[in-house]
């Protein structure tokens, strides 16, 4: 009589790391679209970082403003040249660097502001929370572009740093609402009351306990936020108040060609393509992160 077949407990050899971050990254990579998006984004970021090395020409150099002006794409200039005989490919590569830097820094400003505002409102609660939320609603009711223009009208001549600051300062409202909601929800969670019971100071609780749980919503807001800023900067450049010459950002390359968009089609096509590609990949990653975050919480 064959012996009974023992029930084997499912003891797997190496149990994969269970931290929320590892979990969400693995879940993220499972979707094919996220993998492609990640690869494309990595390439673009790399292009931005290595711009000085791979750009064939100096983006601001005007080699021959008569003969080489507004040349359509050719071997020497794969993306063609602009009305100042500057090489569009080099400008698009440097543009990648500047647009991404603006996007990331501005979003960083938005995140710090958003998390701080949201955490305080959520944690303190009561009247202060109500007031802060109404102020938030007011800011949310003003379209970001209008608010930005209202501010930029006051400072017509802007260099990069203040531009990044303003872009950041007008973008933190959505995130702070999410953070507040999360903090409110977690405030009464057991492990917070436990920490308080152990005499942890309020600031410590916020930093050590609440923030780690906010990683996912912050990550989602960050990826989509960078995309928003890049598009916004392009819009500002189009209205003539974005990145000043001779610096190159995707927005102001398009603006250079906007007046003769019928003839200089390559001036809007290539930077536009890069921009749409970048923003699309950022949105895909953002949405994938949001799916993972919503499914888990």
């Amino acid at each position: 009589m064959p012996g009974p077949t023992p029930v084997s407990a499912t003891s797997s050899a190496a149990r994969p790391r269970e931290s929320p971050l590892a979990l969400s990254v693995r879940a993220l990579l499972r979707k094919r679209s996220s993998r492609i998006a990640l690869v494309v984004l990595a390439v673009i970021v790399l292009v931005g970082i290595l711009a000085p090395l791979i750009a064939p020409y100096d983006p601001a150099a005007q080699p021959d403003i008569v003969a080489l002006k507004s040349q359509s794409p050719s071997l020497a200039h794969p993306f063609g040249t602009d009305p100042y005989s500057r090489d569009v490919l080099s400008r698009v590569l440097y543009g990648a660097r500047l647009s991404l830097v603006i996007g990331i820094l501005a979003t960083f400003v938005s995140l710090t502001f958003g998390v701080a505002y949201g955490a305080i409102a959520g944690y303190v609660g009561g009247m202060l929370d109500a007031v802060m939320m109404r102020i938030l609603d007011a800011f949310l009711s003003i379209p970001r572009l209008l608010l930005l223009l209202g501010v930029l009208v006051a400072w017509p001549h802007l260099s990069i740093a203040p531009l990044i600051l303003f872009l950041g300062l007008t973008g933190w409202f959505g995130l702070s609402r999410i953070v507040r909601g999360q903090v409110l929800a977690l405030k009464h969670a057991e492990f917070v009351t436990a920490a308080r019971a152990l005499g942890a100071s309020r600031r410590r609780i916020l930093a050590r306990h609440l923030l780690p749980n906010l990683v996912s919503p912050i990550a989602v807001a960050a990826t989509i936020g960078v995309g928003h800023v890049i598009v916004l900067e392009a819009g500002l450049s189009f209205l003539g108040i974005g990145v000043p010459q001779p610096l190159a950002s995707w927005g102001n390359i398009i603006q250079d060609g906007a007046d003769q968009v019928a003839t200089l089609w390559w001036m809007s096509l290539f930077p536009g393509l890069f921009m749409v590609l970048t923003v699309m990949t950022l949105n895909i990653l953002g949405e994938a992160l949001r799916d993972v975050y919503e499914r888990r919480s």
Partner: protein, 342 residues
Amino acid sequence: MAPLLSIRDLRTWFYTESGIAKAVDGVSFDVGAGETVGIVGESGCGKSVTALSILRLIQPPGRIESGSVMEFEGRNLVTLNDEEMRKVRGNRISMIFQEPMSALNPVFTVGDQVAEVARIHAGVSRRQAWDKAVETLGLTGIPAPEERAKQYPHQLSGGMRQRVLIAMALIMKPALVIADEPTTALDVTIQAQILDLLMHLQKEFGTSILMITHDLGVIAETTSRVIVMYAGEIVEQAPVDELFARPHHPYTEGLMHSMPHIGHDQARLNVIPGTVPAPTNWPKGCRFFERCPYSWDLPAHEHPPLFDVGANHISRCHLAREPQRRQDPHPPLVVQEGVDAA
């Protein structure tokens, strides 16, 4: 007289990443006109999948395998095209589910949802459909059906909503109603009312009922014939009195013993040790082998067919051939995780 519904060798498999789950693996039974047949078994034994297969509501990755036959009113339901199948659903065969709370569409009035069945199948005007709906709701014992019909599902109690679902199922006077755990989600007092309602309506309209439940009490009260399912196949079938008196298959026996009897002060209910094996690889021999107190070497490797064990009483157990094995029961072979094998 020819049965209303006769199912031969129904096979419904699910093609999942972890292999083919053979939820229903060769089931055959009949349902006579006006008859109430019960299907009983633990959850996961395939009874609900059987019900959904009859109405061809199996969603991918599930699929009804070719070769299965479901004769109903002279037509094989398996080979009907979608158009014809739709004309059967809700019109000739309808179904009632376990969860009344979520089975009604929250944004439509109850009356509309019942009337919709009549509008689709009877092709009557909106007004006529509404009247028929109110009339059927009245039949299910809902007080003041005219006002209730104008209300929304969230304004009705669980029992009331189940009555609406029953109205919905019976408005077209179908030949067969499949009730999948109709009372499980309701509290006990309401359960009895709903069961009485079902039996009363069956007599009124002569519909046959396929009562699917894990509750032997409901089986005893409502059915004339019982099918016991385990691990995707029928393990025993008999008239209800015969089954309760002389359960033959060890699994049925185990089920009977685990029923609480009023009056017996049983400290501890008898539990059938172990769990149902994974449907992706059913054991070679008898699928109840691991949990069967009488198992011996034969059932381990030979899959038992259905034996005749009495008047209209069949059982899928080798004990039919070697009844003596029933004398020396032994502790079950499987070790229940964490529970000491009392």
